[in-house]
Amino acid sequence: MPLENKDILDMASLSVPEINLILDTAESMREISERPIKKVPALRGKTVVLFFYEPSTRTRLSFDIAAKRLSADSIALTASMSSLEKGETLLDTAKNIEAMRPDVVVLRHAYSGAPHFLASRIKASVINAGDGTHAHPSQALLDMLTIRQHKGRLEGLKVAIVGDITHSRVARSNTVGLTKMGAQIVLAGPPTMMPKGIETLGARVARNVEEALSDADVIMMLRIQKERQKRFTMASEREYSRHFGLNRQRVALAKKDVVIMHPGPINRGIEIAADVADGPYSIILDQVTNGVAVRMALLYLVLGGGRHGDSD
């Protein structure tokens, strides 16, 4: 079963069968990563451009490893290497990228909608590696894979997402994706960080963190980005951690077998207490491992892998 669109732009444009296909493919990709020789020739001769307008070592590395394990040639362009600083526009960049005839462009961009812009102007597949505060589909998919691995399902789970929802593309993509898969999303955080109309994505907004955490199967803590809190959205870090951070007392409100996730990098002691981040409920490192598997699956599938007739 192929994917409907040439691009992976956000969770809203993926169907339930497509999400299942991606997660199932990622399971088999994870198996490759556990072999002594972690490389298959699936994408030999294919070119993957990793275009990162925003610094993100983790995500870039994860896509890079994913491309290499599938034997694709990956080229990383960062904003400093590109002509961005010389005033080149995204439209110019699109034309230049197109001239290089890549097969996939993985784009990370500070502005929401930039991957949509690029995708409608080039023939290659575009995978959104995070755009502004809009979407981060590969992160949501790796989170879903990690949850599925630990819980055996997504349907019927209560997932609490806590923190700065306004600035979080991870929260948006997880809300859209997990809701589609039948999970129940509850959001919590300071009211100054809760965007208007977020319920229309399918989430419920809790009155406080405690309410969101009670009986949760999954807790997802978001990184608090101090540099984003310019417009009076936050008082002190101490206050934040006390009222909105995750500590052992709050974990106890959740189900006994709760799992704790974080998209990283963690501010230990602010949004999550150190003993919780490193404690028994934490599956943060599984998220990292699954990141590579999901990105392998995405590269493989956008390049037509898994299509009837050419998969064997």
Binding site: L90, G113, A135, R169
Partner: protein, 425 residues
């Protein structure tokens, strides 16, 4: 040259709605009669058969950006004038946010001389309130009035300093200049690229709340009350602003207001897919706002339709949504969209012409109408003519319209300004 327009329905809001002939001679309306029989002395008389067409006072747009001087790649006074004439307009007010800013009599004079050279539409320059639109120092209103400015505004930017706004209202009133308020609280709007709400949240775009506009509308009405001066509110987009204007009028404060066609037809869902041709300031709002704006235009709380014609080239629009320039074209779609409101039953045709011609003239202190002796500024409309909006064939230099592909019915087929035909469709 004389022109005889025969058999049109003559619509002069509040004064006349009948079928008849109109003779234009020497730049003025020379006769309005049931059936004009032309005397021999009118040599070269052009007779226009106008059965089934509507003749109205020339349309006036209180709010346009012609980009000259400084951004001639987007529009010039000449190309903007052509777009205006093609849209049925005989007069426009140009906003001061050019480069250099129109805060100097030399800039006002330049605009007027270019407009005269083009000779297609009466251009009434609006000068700046503050030097360089910086909100720091009052401009020499007296000098600008002498040079030909009709009013003042920092449009493109609000006057954030309330004391400066108060003084501007007082000082302008002394010179008989109108003050136009671009009502926006910059702190509330900061970081916003579209209307605050569910659509912005889904798209991950920063939101501009309704209150960013309405708190400033309320402030400027309060300042008009304080000073006894009059204020005109530009491009009203929210229901809360409408409520504030309604209250101000009830209290007898001299407030007038305009809205733009896009606030009457579109909502923030037009931005979906990151459509930069639906990006403007103030932004497209909710359906509730659109309904309130329609109601307010019908009941007269909003006095006029003005386009906020804001040309931008592809360089400013073919970019990431956050980086795209604010503003869309308006002159060549405003009348057809207005006629759509009439067909939808929102306004009568008489009210539409009042909002697009008579009221703007009143706000500017101009005399207009289809009456013997008045300057011959008239628009002939074919209410049946159907067409598809195609930015490619606009007279404007730019192409940024959210109405591309819309099928509309009714448009100007002849525009006459000062007795000269400035557009023939």
């Amino acid at each position: 040259m004389a022109i005889l327009i025969r058999g049109a329905r003559l619509i002069d809001p509040g004064r006349m709605d009948r079928t008849g002939d109109v003779l234009i001679d020497n730049g003025r309306i020379a006769a309005v009669q049931d059936a004009y029989t032309h005397p021999a002395h009118l040599e070269g008389l052009e007779v226009i058969a106008a059965d089934g067409l509507w003749l109205t006072p020339g349309l006036i747009d209180l709010h346009v950006h012609f980009r000259e001087p400084g951004q001639e790649h987007k529009e010039t006074i000449h190309s903007g004038s052509r777009a205006a004439a093609a849209g049925g307009f005989t007069a426009v007010c140009t906003m001061p946010n050019t480069n250099p800013v129109n805060d100097d009599p030399a800039v006002t004079a330049l605009i007027l001389s270019k407009a005269k050279e083009a000779g297609l539409v009466r251009v009434y320059p609006v000068a700046a309130i503050s030097k360089g639109l910086k909100g720091e120092q009052l401009v020499d209103f007296g000098e600008l009035k002498t040079a030909g400015a009709i009013g003042v505004s920092d449009d493109g930017r609000p006057v954030m300093n309330s004391q400066l706004m108060r003084r501007a209202l007082e000082y302008a009133a002394g010179f008989g200049l109108m003050v136009i308020s671009h009502s926006e609280d910059l702190d509330l709007a900061e970081g916003g690229a579209m209307n605050e709400g569910a659509v912005a949240t889904r798209m991950g775009l920063g939101g501009i709340p309704n209150a960013a506009e309405s708190v400033m509308v309320a402030r400027d009405i309060a300042l008009a009350g304080l000073t006894g001066a009059s204020v005109h509110i530009a491009h009203v987009s929210t229901r809360e602003s409408v409520a504030a204007i309604r209250r101000g009028k009830e209290e007898g404060i001299a407030v007038t207001a305009e809205t733009a066609p896009h606030y009457l037809f579109l909502t923030d869902t037009a931005v979906e897919d990151y459509n930069t041709n639906a990006k403007m300031n103030p932004p497209l709002r909710s359906n509730q706002d659109r309904e309130a704006i329609r109601q307010a235009l019908a009941d007269g709380t909003l006095d006029a339709i003005a386009t906020d014609h804001a040309p931008h080239s592809i360089m400013e629009k073919e970019v990431e949504f956050d980086r795209a320039a604010n503003g869309i074209l308006g002159l060549e779609t405003s009348l057809p969209l207005g006629l759509k409101l009439v067909r939808e039953g929102v306004l009568s045709i008489e009210t539409l012409i009042e909002r697009m011609a008579t009221a703007p003239a009143r706000i500017l202190g101009l005399e207009t109408g289809i009456r013997v002796g008045l300057p011959a500024d008239v628009t002939l409309i074919d209410p049946k003519k159907e067409f598809t909006v195609q930015a490619d064939i606009f007279h404007s230099k730019s192409r940024n319209t959210p109405f591309e592909g819309w099928t509309l019915q009714g448009r100007a087929v002849l525009t006459v300004m000062g007795g000269r035909i400035t557009y023939r469709g």
